[in-house]
Symmetry: C2
Subunit: 295 residues, 2 copies
Amino acid sequence: MTLTPLLPVPTETGRVWIKAESLQLGGAFKLRGAYNRLAQMNAEERRAGVVAFSSGNHAQGVARAAAMLDTAATIVMPADAPAVKMAATRALGAEIVTYDRHTESREAIAASLAVERGAVLVPSFDDVDVIEGQGTAGLEIAEQLGRAPRRVIVPCGGGGLAAGIALALPNSAIVTAEPEGWDDMARSLAGGKIVEVAADAPFTSCDALQSRRVSDLTFGALREAGAHGLWVSEAETQAAMRFAFGLGLVVEPGGAVALAAWLAGKVADSEGDTVIVCSGSNVDPRAFARVMEAA
Amino acid sequence: MTLTPLLPVPTETGRVWIKAESLQLGGAFKLRGAYNRLAQMNAEERRAGVVAFSSGNHAQGVARAAAMLDTAATIVMPADAPAVKMAATRALGAEIVTYDRHTESREAIAASLAVERGAVLVPSFDDVDVIEGQGTAGLEIAEQLGRAPRRVIVPCGGGGLAAGIALALPNSAIVTAEPEGWDDMARSLAGGKIVEVAADAPFTSCDALQSRRVSDLTFGALREAGAHGLWVSEAETQAAMRFAFGLGLVVEPGGAVALAAWLAGKVADSEGDTVIVCSGSNVDPRAFARVMEAA
C-alpha cells in the first residue's frame, strides 16, 4: 500500500486538495479494500485462494493483495474490459476467466468457481472489510490535512470508497459523483431507498463506475452519513481529465468524476476545506490521447 | 511548496522509487530554487522585483515564488516557448518579455531589464541559493525513504537540481541524465572540465534541458561529489513517458530522461536503493497525446 499524496489545487482560497488515489499501487484505491479483506483470511482459506469479478480496478486490487499475501487469485472479467487492466491483472499472477457481459452472469460464474475451488469470493464493494479498507483513504486525508475536511467529493460506482470514507470521516460532508444516467446512488440517497440504473442508461466512458445497483451496506452507510449525490456529463468528465493532466496526474474517466463535479460548480457550498478524490489512473493510452487532443 | 511524493516503482527488488517533482506546484522542481533565492531578498529588493530568463519551468517557478513573496516578476521567454508554459507564467501575474532565440540574447535582455528596474536577476541554476533550494528535493528523499539512497538519477540541464541533490545527499551516488547530443554535463564530468553543447546538436523534445553550458558552480559540486553522466535517445525518453503514464504520472520529455536511463538499463549497478527524479510535467496535451499514440 502506498500513502497517496494529498495535492493542493491552485485556487484563490487555497483550501482545495486532490487525494490522488490514482497513484495507489495498481493505479486505483481498490488495493486498500482487497488487502483488508484478504488479511482477515485464515491459513486454510489462503491455501484455497480467492475469486473476484471486476471490470478492472478491483481485479488488479485483488490480484495484487493476493500476491502480497501469497494466495492464488482467479478473476472473472468481461471479455471487453480495457486491455491495459487485463494485462496488468495477469502480470500480477492472477488467472483470468472471461465472460460475455451481454449474455452471461459474472456473479454466477464467480460463485460457481468459488464453490468448485473452496475459494473465498471477494466482492468489489458489498463487504464490511472491503469498505473499511477503502476507508483508510479517508483516515489518510485527515492525517495529511491535520484535520477532517469540511467535505469530500468521491467517485461512486458501487459506493465502497464513498462509504468507507464516510465511516472514516464522520464529521465531513460526503458528496458522491457519478456519470450521467448512472447516478443510482444519487437517486437512491434522494429517494431514501435503493433504485437501480435504468436498463437504457446512456454510454459512459467511466468503465470503473458501471455498477447497476449499490448495496444495502454502501447505501446504508452513506444515507446514515447524510451524503448526497451529483452526476456529471461525458464532457465534464473529459474536462476534468484535462485539468488533472495540467497538474501532472493521469486520471481515468471514472476516477475524474468527483473533480468534474467540482470544476463544473456543482458542489454549491464552498466554505472550508474541500478534498476531491481522484480514484484511478487505468486508462488505455490511446483513449487518453483522444481526450487530450480534444482540448 | 508541496512535499512531492516518493512513489514505489513495481520491481522485483522493491527498491526503486520515483521522486515525483512533476507534481510540485507549477509542475516542476523549479519553485524550490526560486523560492529559496527570493526569500533571501530584503524589503528594498522586494519592492524592485525580480527578472529571470527561461524557456518555461524556471519562469513559472520564479513567477510563483514572486507571487508567494509579494514581489513583481518579469520573465524573458523565447517567443517559441511551449504555449502551456507561457500561459501558466502569465496566469501567475508575471510580465512576459519575449525574444527571438536565434537572433537575440536573453542574457543581455534580462540584464538590461534588471539594471533598468533595479531588479534582482534570478539565474535558473548558476546561483548558490537556487542550487540549495533545489537540494530540498534531496532532503525530502532521505526523509521519505528513512535513509539516504544508494543512488539518485537526476535529469540535467544546467545542473542545478543535480548539484543541489548532490550537496543534500553527500553519501549517495549521483547520476545525471541528459538528451542525446546535449550531454555536456556527462562529457564535462568525464573530461574534468566544462565542455559546451556542440553548435550542431540534434533536435531534442526536452525543451527544459536545452542549456548549452553548465556552470562552474553546478559542475564543481557534481565533480566534487564524484557524479557521472549518461545520455538517452528520443525513443528512450518517449518510452519513459509511457511508462510513467502507466503509473499515473504525466512527465514532460525533459523530466523523463532519468527514468529513461534507468529503463534502458544504462545505470549498470543496481544494488541498494535507486531513486529516479521525474522533474517536470509541463507538456502540451497534444504533444503528450502523440507520444501516447506511438505506444
